[in-house]
C-alpha cells in the first residue's frame, strides 16, 4: 500500500517541464509502447507504460533511484507507436537526465562518459586497428579536439556530475 507520503504529487509536473519530458502529459496508458518495446519483452522490470504510470502517480523515489530508467535502448519504437504523441522515448531521456542529477548513473554509461572526457570520443580505436589502417593506406583515425571537448563538458558540469556518482540501488 503506497502511502501519500511516498508519492510526490509534483513529479509529473517536474518531468513535464524537463526539456524532453513534455510527452508524459499525453499518455493515456494504452499499453502500445510496452507491447512493442523489444526490451520489455525480455526484461520484466522494464515496462515503459508502467513507468509512465508511476510518473503520473508520483512515485519519484522508485523511478529516479533504481535501475528502471536504464534499460531503454532509445530505438524510438515506442515513440512512433504511441497514438497520442506521448514521446515515451523522450520521457525516458528526461528521467535519465533527472536520475543522473540525483547521482544515479550505471557503470556502462559512466564508462562511456569517462572515455568521452579522456579522449573526446566514446569509441577509440585499438593500436592494432591504427596499424591495420596504415597497411590499407587509409588515413589515421580522424583528429579530435580533445581540449575543446573538455572545456565544453566543464561548462556543462558533466564532469562534476560523473564525479558525484553513487552506485545504483538494485
Amino acid at each position: 500500500m503506497t502511502k501519500l507520503s511516498e508519492l510526490e504529487p509534483k513529479f509529473m509536473h517536474e518531468v513535464a517541464n524537463t526539456p524532453r519530458g513534455k510527452g508524459i502529459l499525453a499518455c493515456i496508458q494504452c499499453g502500445r509502447c510496452s507491447s512493442s518495446c523489444p526490451i520489455a519483452r525480455l526484461v520484466d522490470e522494464h515496462n515503459p507504460r508502467q513507468l509512465m504510470e508511476m510518473i503520473i502517480l508520483g512515485s519519484r523515489d522508485e523511478v529516479l533511484h533504481t535501475k528502471l530508467p536504464w534499460y531503454c535502448l532509445s530505438c524510438f519504437t515506442c515513440l512512433d507507436r504511441c497514438p497520442q504523441g506521448g514521446d515515451v522515448a523522450e520521457v525516458m531521456f528526461a528521467i535519465r537526465n533527472l536520475a543522473v542529477r540525483e547521482g544515479n548513473v550505471p557503470d556502462g554509461f559512466a564508462a562511456q562518459a569517462g572515455n568521452l572526457i579522456k579522449t573526446g570520443r566514446v569509441v577509440t580505436p585499438a593500436m592494432m586497428m591504427i596499424n591495420k589502417r596504415e597497411k590499407l593506406g587509409l588515413s589515421k583515425t580522424p583528429s579530435t579536439a580533445i581540449e575543446e571537448v573538455q572545456k565544453i563538458l566543464k561548462k556543462t558540469t558533466l564532469d562534476k556530475m560523473m564525479a558525484s556518482r553513487r552506485t545504483v540501488k538494485e
Binding site: M1, T2, P9, M12, H13, A26, I28, Q29, E53, L57
Partner: protein, 592 residues
Amino acid sequence: MKGEPRVGVFVCHCGVNIGGVVKVPKVVKYTKTLPNVAYAEDNLYTCSEAGIDSIKDAIKKYDLNRVIVASCTPRTHEPLFRAACKEAGLNPYLFEMANIREQCSWVHPKEPEKATEKAKDIVRMAVARATWLEPQTEPEVKIRDSALVIGAGIAGMTAATTLANQGFKVHLIEKEKEIGGYVRRLYKLYPTMEESSEIIEPIIEAVKKHKNIELMTSTTIEEVSGYVGNFNVTATKKDKKIQLEVGTIIVACGGLNYQPPKGLYQYGIYDHVITQLELDQILKEGRLGKPERVVMIQCVGAKKGEIRGYELESFPKSDTAKLLKKILRAKKEEGWPYCSRICCMNAIKNAILIKTASPETDVIILYGDLRVYKEYEDFYSKARDLEVKFIKILEIVTPEVTETPDKKLKVLAYDMLAGKEAEFVADWVALSTPLVPHKDEVILARMLKIPISPDGFLMEAHLKLRPVDTMMDGIYLAGVASGPKDVPETITSAKAAAARAAILMANKKMKSEAIIAVVNEDLCKGCGRCEEVCEYKGIKLEEAEGALIAKVIEAQCKGCGVCAVTCPTGAISMQHFTNKQINVMIKAAIGG
C-alpha cells in the same frame, strides 16, 4: 369475397437465414399440394425488389385473391408486402405472413429435417387462415395541425421552435415556474466551454416571442385521452383547468441527476463529498477557492453487480483474497444498469475548469472505463495537458473515503495500471453520478400509454431506425426522456421528433390499422364489461334505440382483443383475427 379462394404462397430463403436450415424447395413442393393453393414459388430475398415484383406479377398472372409470404417477422416486413398487394390491386388485408425464420429456422438451427417439417406446418396453418381472410378498409383519421410539447427544457423548447417555424401551432407545457430545465442551471457546456446561457437564452427568447407557441408554465398534465390526430389533453395551472385538442404530442420531460444515497462514499456525511452537478454550481458561484487536491470518482451509482470477468480472471492470486471482501460489498450495491454517457465528459469539464482557475490544485480522476466518445477526445487531451491525472482503478474494488483528523478526506483506491493501492488526501471528493429517469415519467407513460424500457426511460419504437417515435402513433420522444444524452444529442433528437410530428400534421390525415374490434349488436347485452377492461378507452356503451349497446371508437382501438375475449356473449370479434380464422389455423396445426 366471391369466387373460390386462390392462394399464392411465396417461400423465402432469406439468404442463409432460412434456406440454411429449412429445405425451402421441399416446403414449396408440399405447399402446392395444399387446398386452394393456386401458385407457389421460392425466392432468395422476397423483401428485395425482385421478390416484390414477383408477388405483383403472380397476383395478375394467376388471378390470386390471397397472398402468403413465408419468411420473417410481420413486425418489420408486413407493411412492405401489404403495400405490394395493394399496388397489384389486391386488398392488403387478404395478405398473411408465415414466420418460418424467427419461429422456425433461427430456433432450430441444429435440426434441419424437423425444422423443414415445422415450416410446412406453419405454412399449412397460414394457408388455412388465408382462405377465411376478408378485405378490410383502413379507417382514415383527420389530424389537427397543432402539437403539445411536454416539458420546456432545452429539448422541449427546441422541438417547439422547430415546429413553430414550420407554421404549426404549439402548446408548450412546463411543470416548473421557470423554463430552461436542467441545462439552464449548468455553468459551462462541453466541448466548447460555452456558457449554458449563451446556448439557452436565445432559445428561451425565441419561445417566448414566437407567435405560434403558447407557453404555459407551472402547469401539470392531468389526463390525456383520444387518439392520433385528436388528443384531448386536460392540464391544470394553479387549479385552473385547461382543455387542449392537439394532433401530436412530443414528450420532452428530461431526466434527473442521481442523488447518491446517504453514506455512499460518505456522501451526505462529509459536506466536502459532492456530486459533479453540485461541483458545477460551486464553480459557477466561484466558491471552490484554491484547494490542494480534488479527487473525482466515476461510475457512482452505476451497477457494478456484474463483476467484470476479465479483471478477476487473471488477477495475481496474492491480492485476490484481500480484494474479495471489497468485491462482495460491491455486489450488494444496487445501481443503474446502463452507462449514462455524459458523466465522464462532465468530470473532465469540471477538472478543466478547476485547473484553469487554480493550476496548483492537484486534480485526480479515478475511472474504470473512460468513455469520452465522439470528437471529445481533444477535450480529454486538453485536460491531460493541464496535468489532470487520470488513474484507472479496478471498478469492482470501489474506492474508500474516510475523514482524516484535520477534517480532510482520505481516498483509498487500487490503481490497476501501476499495480498498487494508492491513497490520496483531498479537500473535495466529486462523485460522477448518472442521469436517471424523471420520477413522473412513469405517470406520463401510463397517461400516454407508451411503454417504459428496462433502464427506466421511455421506450422508443425501434432502437435503431425509429429512435424518436413511440409505439403510439402521433406521440414522439425528444431529449433525455428516452435515455441519457448530452446537449448536442438532445438538440438533434428534439429536431428529429419535430420532423416526425410534422409529417402527420402536414398531411392532415392518416390511415390507421384496420385490425380493430367489431360489435355484433344483436348479441350485445350492454353489460359494459368491455368498456371496463379496455386500456385505450376504445369502446364505450352508448344509447341506441333505448338499449345500451357497446360502440367501438375505430381510431382509438389498438386491436389488442381484450374486449373480444372478455365479452360474455361473444358479441365482439376482431377484424382480420376472427375466431373462425384462428380455429381453422389450430385445426390445420393439429390435423397435420
